[in-house]
């Protein structure tokens, strides 16, 4: 089992940071529980907090989960297969799995849950909880369908929506839910967690190493724990300056960045294209590629250029969302970058 799963806190009391938030969730769970919209960057502990809250609501029963596979039929008679994680008290769905048909799933599934009452009389709560992952990827239609369900069936059903940002959640949903922001842990908090895990695993804990991992992880606790485990798995003996192995895709992107910096020619673009394709075929999201590449390039260039590079990076990232062939936009960014750099070095202002 990975450290991330093995040492995941199970109860609200054992969470190590955001104590104020934990106590709020606790008081909500013991009183009148509203619909929740939990948002924050990835690796901040949204899911962990929700599972702990569920445990607070229902007791140990929520930990016995099974995976159900259900088939839904769309209006155009297409069959959709959909996986649901359930316990007797709650169920957890990721509607964005089925893309544009998420509305069908939301309507059918939620109505079905909402119309059946809690059978178990010894249950602590009369309602069931539905956890919706990646709520910010729901289509507008699906969100509009939620709106009605949330009000109509509120005695039997509570929703917990998980999202990375509230930007794509429509206003009516936002005004019906209690917004809970989970900020990413600070570097110090991550260091504490790493040290705690290290002690539990009887590893030799190095303060300096923990701190480096924490900084490197970009305040993402999950990533920090994975890196922590990787370092210990790869090295017999860790020191404060043991190198941290980056994930393969990140290594490849740094390689791309180096290549771009080394030579500014059209041939180089061709070489880079092969690598970009490689990344895309390994299912690395294009946004992640573009972002990582940008932040790898930034330290290598002169301060005066940075603002421009960010500007074009943001521009092509936007294009990525509008268009549907990522490679074009990634390559366009590379070409743009080479051009910017070249004209800066030659001190000529080309017309853009």
């Amino acid at each position: 089992m990975l450290f991330v799963d093995k040492h995941r806190p199970k109860t609200l009391d054992s969470l190590t940071y955001h104590h104020e938030l934990s106590s709020r969730l606790k008081s909500l769970a013991n009183g009148d529980f509203p619909h929740l919209l939990v948002y924050g960057p990835s690796g901040a502990g949204k899911k962990t907090r929700i599972i702990a809250t569920l445990k607070e609501l229902y007791g140990n029963g929520v930990e016995k989960i099974k995976i159900d596979s259900r088939v839904f039929t769309t209006t155009s008679n297409r069959k959709l297969e959909f996986n649901i994680v359930t316990s007797i008290y709650h169920l957890e769905i990721t509607p964005s799995d089925v893309g544009n048909y998420d509305r069908v799933v939301i309507q059918d599934l939620l109505k079905e849950v909402a119309q059946t009452q809690q059978v178990d009389l010894s249950a602590k709560q009369r309602f069931k909880v539905v956890v919706i992952n990646e709520a910010d990827h729901l289509t507008r239609d699906a969100q509009a369908a939620l709106r009605r369900t949330m009000e109509k069936y509120s005695p039997n059903l509570r929703l917990i929506l998980l999202a990375n940002s509230t930007a794509n959640i429509i206003a009516p949903i936002r005004s019906r839910t209690l917004l809970v922001r989970v900020a990413a842990p600070s570097v110090d908090e991550i260091v504490e967690v790493l040290k705690g895990v290290g002690r539990l695993e009887r590893l030799e804990v190095r303060e300096g190493l923990c701190r480096r991992i924490a900084t490197e992880s970009g305040r993402n606790l999950r990533r920090a724990l994975l890196m922590f485990e990787a370092v210990y798995a790869q090295n017999e003996k860790v020191k404060d300056d043991t190198p941290l192995p980056p994930p393969d895709w990140e290594a490849l992107i740094s390689q791309i960045a180096d290549e771009i910096m080394a030579e500014h020619t059209p041939q180089r673009i061709l070489q880079v294209r092969a690598k970009l394709y490689d990344l895309l075929t390994h299912c690395i999201p294009p946004t992640v590629i573009l972002k990582t590449l940008t932040f790898k390039l930034i330290p290598k260039i002169d301060d005066a250029l940075k603002a421009d590079v960010i500007r074009w990076s943001a521009f092509y990232e936007h294009r990525l969302h509008l268009g549907n062939k990522p490679i074009f936009h990634l390559e366009a960014f590379v070409a743009k970058f080479l051009r910017l750099l070249e004209s800066y070095l030659m001190d000529v202002d080309y017309d853009f």
């Binding site: 009148d32 940002s165 509230t166 209690l178 960010i310 943001a314």
Partner: protein
Amino acid sequence: MASNFFDLKKRKEAAAASSSSKQKAAPAADRPVPWVEKYRPKTLSDVTAQDHTISVLRRTLQSSNLPHMLFYGPPGTGKTSTILALAKELYGPELVKTRVLELNASDERGISIVREKVKNFAKIAISTASASSASKYPCPPYKIIILDEADSMTQDAQSALRRTMETYSKITRFCLICNYVTRIIDPLASRCSKFRFKPLDEGNARVRLSSIAQSEGVRCQDGVVDMLIKVSDGDLRKAITFLQSAARLHGAVKAKDIGGDDDDMEVDGGSGGEKGGGGEVTVRSIEEIAGVIPDKTIDSLMESMQPRPHGQAVYTPVAKVVQDIVADGWSAAQVLLQLYNRLVFSDMLTGNQKNEIVGIFSEMDKRLVDGADEHLVTLDMSLRVAAVFGHDGS
């Protein structure tokens, strides 16, 4: 025997009494009503701050003749409440069920529904008023169809309504409610008399919010009501929802059984400090619920964007602040909004600079709506605004 008999009767009575009281108590305890619904105005005079509209409606109420109506205005200004209150005053609680049809956006409202449901309801003859309600309420001889959120109806559905409105105008009045009057097709708009609902002014909103807070026994810090008004932009519903969420979070609602002698307790509570469960609602918690970023964070962003001496690039400080903002989970749209409010009213910038900045904001807003990455967008926006700070806009 006799005593037994009486006993039985008594027992029955007791049982009946207890069950009825339980029935009454149970739903109230089990299903807490959102305060928005609980404090919806019951009569026309309860409606806050729409004096002009209310006085016109009141006059039509006296003459018992109602035109077709079109209510428009921003959300949370009392459009739906007004028409519901009006309907209640016209018909009384009994007749409302048979005389009023309310459809809103969550109901299916395609062209077929307009053709069938609306038309059928418009067609049916008016139910006769019972003597009791007729004596108490005006009960004018027409029905009311309320089409809430009418701007989300399709063009086709709207045009299907045109003739229906006229044909049955003797026995049916329509009330359309919408946010954007421009989305209502002209033929419909010209058939209605229009009422504009303006955003609530501060005074009225304050009175309303404090009265709700008082009757729910929510203990607030000074300035909470002001903050509610500020973050809700004249949308009373939003303000009330925020207030309820905050009260729930802090457990700031006093125990219910204090009941009658509430006022005395209030005085005691003020001096005694910690009384009843839970703390009080703070200004910060309202901000947190509304997702408002603390001024300090925006200050530090502004600070980092100021031009550096000796032509140093602003990239490093800006990137650091932006990374923290993103890691703290603040939504980029909110950063955009608050920064915008700061900059547009700032005296430090020239008109030209503001021009450029507003241009940047509009582009960034579009990108966010398209689902672009928040980190990059925020960073790009900050850097470009910083660049505008750098040159004088001449």
